[in-house]
Structures are given as C-alpha cells and as structure tokens.
Point group: C2
Chain length 209, copies 2
C-alpha cells in the first residue's frame, strides 16, 4: 500500500500542475481570441495568429482547438459563462425607484459596449454570410440573449411573470445592442449617456405608473 | 456651319447613350455591391467579384472604381442619397396621435432591417479593425445617422427644436439599429413587432404627456 500511495501521490503532484497549465493555456487562448477579434477583426483571427498573441506554441493551440470553428465556439461559450457568472454577483444598484432603473439600464448597456461585444460583433458579421458558422453560433447567441434578459430582470428586481417588465427589458436590450454598434467606429459615450437617461425616465414611468 | 452642326449632332447622338450606359454600369455596380456585401460579406466583396455579379467587364468596373475603397465609399454615398430622397417622398402615416407614432417607429426600424443595413453592417465590422477604412466611412456614417434622425423627426411632425422629441428619436434610432443587428442571423420579425409596439406606446406617452 505504501509503495502504491507514494506513486499515486507523485502522479498527482505531476498531474495537477499539468492540468493547471492546460487550463491556463486554454484561458489565454480564449482571452487572446476576444481581444484579437475586437481589435483586428474576423479575417485576422486564425488559430495560429491567436496562438502567437497568447504566447502559446501553434501545436499546443491546435491541441486545444483543432479548427477556427472550435476556437470561436469555445470563446462564445466562455462569454456566456462570464455573463451568467455576473448574475450571481451582487449588484451594486440602488434599492428601488427611478435611480435603480437608471443604474440597471446603464448596466445593460455596459454589456454591449465592452470588448466582448465588439468581439461578438465580428463573429456575427462573419456568420451573416456563412451558413455553417451561423448554425454553430445561433444557439449560443440565443443563450446569451436569454442570460442578458434574465440578468436585467433580476437587477430590476422584477417578477419574471411581469409581462410589462419583460417587454420593457427586451426593448432595453435591443436599445443597448444598437448603442453598442454605434460605439464601434468612435467613442459614443457622451451621446449614449443622454440616450440612457432618456430611456431610463420612460422605463421608470412605465414600471411605476 | 452646316457640316459642323451635323458633326456635333452626331457626336451628341453617340455621346448621350454612352453617358447613359456609363451611368447604368455605375448603378449596376453599386447595386451589386449592396447585395454582395449583405449576402456574401466583406471579404468576398472585391471590385472583380462585384463586376462579375453585375455582368460588367473587369476593365469597365475598374474604370469606374479603381479600388475597393472607391467602390465602398460610392456605395455608402448612394445609400445616403437613397435615404435622403425618401425624406422628400410623402409619408404614408396617420395624421396624428399614437397611431402616427407607431407607424413612424415601424418606419425607422425598416431603415435598419433592410438589405442596405446588412450591407452597411459588413463595412462597419470591417472598419472596426481597419483605421484607414474607418476614417473613410466615419463622415458618411454621421451623415447617414443625421439623415435618419431628420427623416424621423419630420415623419413625426415634430418641431426640430423640440428637445424631448429630439432625444426620443435618437433613442428610437438606437433601438432600430439594435433590432437590425438582431435580424442578421435569423428572421426576428415576430419578436421585433412586440418590441416596436412596446416602444411606440412609451414614445406616445412621452410625447403627449
């Protein structure tokens, strides 16, 4: 038993750091994919280019992601996980009233104005003319949209069965997506703040009428 | 004088159809660029490929548009002209009230859910990672956004100095852009109709409060 235990412990000692390394490599590749898509666009974001950006050997990258489709799918899955993880975090929102609505609208808009959205937009645009890619990312996009909706409803403190709140949140997320798109060519933050303020007032009036 | 007049008339006879042909060729190339961008994406939309789609010789296409940048810029200019021409057309909107607001919101959303928007989205996504292209299309994009805003204000029958209407129309166009983006991967028209209805009610309440 003694001999076997030692061997097993030794194996574990070696195995655990290797698993860590593998996990770290995977994460580095996914993070590099997001920043590369956002900054250099779809065409530039190949497995080889992402590997170079992440400081990972091409062989190791291809071990994790044999194709660009596998890399892109995993990246969108990671965005989904990151987004849903946020649902479980405590929200720093005022307890109630118009101030809470304003903060929640801001929060929803933040989802669509970050690097993640700019990366997703590149995949979206590529998928518009690539039926195979579209089939691949369509279910992921639906899950992302649903997660954003649930998160926003929860942040509002709205009852999931409240039809009025449900539809207002849908409109809020469409607005947020449009604001995200307007932010891709230049910094649109000043104009955006006014739009967020305008819509927050409408939303508060509609919820508390 | 007789001889010269005849020659001049002959030259005109030949020149006019040639100008027509040239104008038709140009229009065919611009129309092919829009449909090609929307259906096949940015990477596929080269001058040569557009020429083939339009049934124009490569040489004739390059005479009109020596570079892809020239072709893309001219296409965006054409979208701008088409959009502003619509401002001068009579609007088929109800005279006033909530019904008019609803029709105007639908109208604004239609701007962003057509083939033209899907084409523009491809240019937008490409420009996100191409500073030279971004510089080229940024002023055109601003003009397009301003034209859409003016058109929507006019359709509403709103006073251009009405700050409240101004901001609500801005938010409406951001919403419309977001709805356009949501429509690129699949037909989103059923969900969109509900969002348009929700938004129109809010907009009418805010305008007529």
């Amino acid at each position: 038993m003694g001999q076997r235990s030692v061997t097993s412990a030794q194996a574990r000692t070696h195995r655990v750091p290797q698993q860590d390394r593998s996990r770290n490599t995977r994460r580095a590749l996914l993070a590099a994919t997001v920043s590369m898509l956002a900054e250099e666009g779809w065409a530039a974001t190949t497995v080889a280019a992402v590997a170079a950006r992440a400081g990972v050997s091409r062989g190791a990258a291809q071990h994790h992601f044999p194709t660009r489709e596998a890399l892109i799918t995993a990246t969108l899955e990671q965005l989904f996980t990151d987004l849903t993880d946020r649902v479980n975090d405590s929200f720093d929102v005022p307890a109630q009233g118009a101030a809470r609505v304003h903060r929640v609208v801001e929060y929803a808009v933040e989802i669509y104005t970050g690097t993640e959205f700019k990366a997703a937009l590149q995949v979206w645009a590529a998928a518009a003319s690539d039926p195979a890619l579209r089939e691949l990312i369509r279910p992921l996009e639906l899950r992302l949209a649903r997660a954003a909706h649930q998160m926003t409803m929860a942040a509002l403190g709205a009852d999931p069965d409240d039809e009025n709140a449900f539809r207002l949140v849908q409109a809020t997320l469409d607005l947020a997506r449009g604001l995200g798109l307007a932010d891709t060519l230049s910094d649109d933050s000043a104009r955006r703040a006014v739009v967020v303020e305008t819509w927050s007032q409408q939303m508060a009036a509609a919820l508390f009428q």
